[in-house]
């Protein structure tokens, strides 16, 4: 009885000390991360189940997204994704070309699953907000890819200040502008025709059009693109024309340039060329030669600068809106971690796959109040997402389950081919995976 009383009062004293804040265990935790660096917790329940419409066969067919290639957020924090599950390639002269890895045909045959529409948007709560895109769902035969209006090789997306949704395809020559409900408003480039020489020797695999691909890099056309990766739209007046709504395109799987069009799709300017090889020390303003994603992302900051992912060179290049180079941010691990871990991170290429400025950049309203103090960076090579200090470029932390030391995987807060990232106005960060992951995860900021 005496022992029970001692334990009882002992526990009371302990919880009093903790409960009244006399001892804060979180002070211990704070030592491991620099002050002010945001930390996040994955929301494993986001998104909710996708629809499973009952087909004419009377069977419920579960939507499967396949690879989730693009992630972008609208003014109401709805999360748009550009998915590859519907892609199976193009039939040319009776031969199927380019059976996209993102397609889910095999799963469809075995598990009654069907590909989701190319564009699926989710509410912040994780419900499907809207979905659209052609073809409606996989029809009999596999030749619809050529007839599809949407770009081959679903890739980047962006929701502009007017609420329109832009998509680009890294197996095609087009960037397209849609209303939020999927009405096509404008196309930049030409479907199936790239800014390249005919007779692409690499046709097959994901290359389905003869003029597309990096081996036929022209980097020259004022009308055509060559496998564009990403898009952003500037709500501010153009420095030369004074008109808002310029479209910045990372024309970077075939070409090696940032190309700018006005709101009507008229060419304004471009910058960038191939470095000739891949290295973080490539000359400023050039992009890695091979491997795609040169450049792989383009993001506008409220500092009026253009942040560009030079994926093969593992660096972010920063330009002004006229294309004048400002500085490089090379994705480098902090020196505070063991040398072996640093070496492992540096050994992986393609560390600058996609970025967003944090907090809240995707909707770049003219009253955007955020400081955009950080950069969140999806690292494809290491399967991790870094938090960088925007001013210094220093790596401050990571989203992955294992922190700075990456541990790829398929559990919550693991990554397998982390490809694109976007942050919303509430400080949530979304990270989508393509080839081996095929999902999108939501990370919620921890309260300070």
């Amino acid at each position: 009885m005496k022992l029970a009383r001692t334990v009882y009062f002992g526990v009371i004293v302990l919880v009093l000390i903790i409960g009244l804040g006399l001892w804060r265990p979180d002070k211990v935790k704070a030592k491991s991360s620099p002050d002010g660096t945001p930390t996040f917790t994955v929301d494993p329940s986001w998104p909710n189940n996708l629809p499973a419409p009952v087909g004419s066969d009377g069977v419920a067919h579960q939507w499967v997204t396949g690879e989730i290639a693009g992630t972008c957020i609208d003014a109401n924090d709805n999360v748009y994704t550009f998915n590859r599950g519907w892609e199976v390639g193009v039939t040319q002269n009776g031969v199927l070309q380019g059976n996209e890895s993102g397609a889910i045909v095999g799963q469809d045959a075995t598990a009654s699953a069907i590909p989701s529409p190319p564009v699926v948007a989710y509410t912040p709560a994780g419900d499907v907000y809207t979905s659209w895109g052609n073809p409606s769902l996989i029809p009999t035969g596999q030749s619809y890819g050529g007839a599809a209006v949407m770009p081959q090789g679903a890739h980047g997306c962006y929701v502009d200040y007017q609420g329109n949704v832009w998509v680009g395809g890294n197996g095609d020559g087009v960037v397209q502008k849609y209303t939020p409900t999927g009405t096509l408003l404008m196309t930049i480039g030409r479907k199936g025709v790239c800014d390249g020489t005919p007779g692409n020797s690499k046709i097959g695999g994901s290359n389905v059009y003869s003029t597309c691909g990096e081996s036929k890099d022209y980097n020259a056309s004022h009308f055509l693109l060559n496998e564009p990766a990403d898009i952003t739209v500037d709500p501010e007046p153009d420095p030369v024309t004074g008109n808002p709504g310029d479209v910045y395109i990372a024309d970077g799987y075939g070409n090696h340039r940032i190309v700018v069009f006005d709101a009507n799709g008229t060419y304004l300017r471009q910058w960038g060329s191939s470095c000739g090889h891949n290295s973080p020390s490539c000359p400023n303003g050039t992009f890695g030669a091979t491997g795609g994603g040169h450049p792989h992302c383009v993001v506008l900051g409220n500092d009026n600068l253009v942040y560009v992912c030079d994926r093969p060179d593992s660096r972010i290049q920063v330009f002004d809106k006229m294309g004048n180079w400002q500085r490089n941010i090379i994705i480098t691990p902090p020196s505070s971690i063991p040398q072996a871990e640093q070496n492992a991170i540096l050994a992986a290429g393609t560390r600058a796959c996609d970025i967003d400025l944090y907090p809240n950049i995707d909707v770049l309203g003219d009253e955007s109040p955020t400081s955009q103090e950080f950069i969140v960076n999806a690292d494809l090579g290491n399967d991790n997402e870094w938090i960088l200090d925007k001013a210094s470029g220093n790596m401050l932390g990571a989203f992955g389950q294992c922190g700075i030391a990456p541990c790829p995987g398929h559990n919550a807060a693991h990554f397998a081919f982390a490809h694109t990232t976007a942050s919303d106005s509430q400080g949530n960060v979304y990270i989508a995976e393509t080839i081996t992951g095929r999902r999108i995860q939501k990370f919620v900021p921890n309260s300070k």
Binding site: I12, R24, A75
Partner: protein
Amino acid sequence: MRPLTCTFLAAGLALVLWAPVVFAHDQPLQTAVNSFVKIDPDQAHLVVRVPLDLLRSASFPMKGNVYDIANSGDAMHQALVGVGRGIVIWEDGLPLHPQTATGRLTLPANKSFESYESALDLISQPAKPDVQIYYDQGYLDAHFTYPIHSPQSVFSIRTLLAGDLGNTSKMTVRFMPLNEASRAYLITPADGRVTLSPRWYQAAAGFVVLGIEHILSGMDHLLFLFCLLIPYRSFRGLIAVITAFTIAHSITLIGTAYGLAPVGHWFPPFVETAIAMSIVYMALENIVGANLRRRWIITGIFGLVHGFGFSYAMKDSLQFAGNHLLLSLLAFNIGIEIGQLAVLAVMLGALWLLTRVKALSGRTGVVVLSALVAHTAWHWMLDRFQVLRQVGLPRIDADGIVIIARWVLAILIIVGGALAFGKWLDQWRAKRAATGHHAEPVPIAAPAEERAAS
């Protein structure tokens, strides 16, 4: 009565007691109207942002895909009239009529409605004629002013904008009374007229009704009460148990309202599962025979869990408490008690009738009824545990440890106090018995000593 009849009776009761598991889900907010209501000494302001896809009453002229801002004067007037009629503000029960109305169209990416001042500033500047706003992709921002008699009046508001969307058409209202802290509301056309500055008696009355409604619609709480009742079958024996339950759930309910409860997706299914477990435990205890004199202690502990459950019911309604948060919480508790007493009265009557059936009288009745309850609650528990598994328990961080510590402290103090009170009560009873008074009626359950001997 024949066994077959008993089986049918039991099956019927099980059906009555069965309730599907229902979990609330947040509606998406993409159709939300965003507003401020500010009270000045001589006028009220309504500053409101309406998504254009909700404004079917006004047809703004188009120039291709985009609105023709330069020629939208007539449509703007029509839209302001529509919004002014759709959102009505009352002062002391009398509708106010707008004195001035100003509006403009705004791009969807605009963030000015993060504060009243920036929203007002935006509306004071007309949209540039060449701004390109796509059809249905933007906002109508409007500012209405209303003359008022006194800033101390009771103000209320109602929205009928996009009323055909029902509960999915939400309107956020940030109410900024004069010389008081501002408060936020989330209302829908289905809410009718909502009082923004209720008097204490208005808030209290509303929450008493809410409490009654909640207990009457909460099947798991009712089943828990029924379970408590089965072995007693008299109101007198129940007094201590019900009192303990009431005090305990009041503690967690009020604690939650003041932000002391854990947060996270995991907590609601955790509480739901624990509530189902509490019913299973009570039912099993009835079956094996409980020490009913000490039952109020475990009931009190389970009451803490049920209090969290009650708190979810009133979470969305707390906004209507105005300045009277604590009073409203107490009123909600009173409502729950009124509902509980009414339910207990009905249940006692039903139990009395059931025990007229020979097969259900005595211990057999306790065992059969408790088994039925245990069966229902067991399925609830499994279903809810599945949900909890899907959501997953959180990793305990430092903030979580602090919250847990506070609750452990509260529980330890309550349990310690209860045990001390129980000890005192036993001594008091023993003294009464020694002086020749009869102990209270022994309930219908196997006494602990008897079970130990068998």
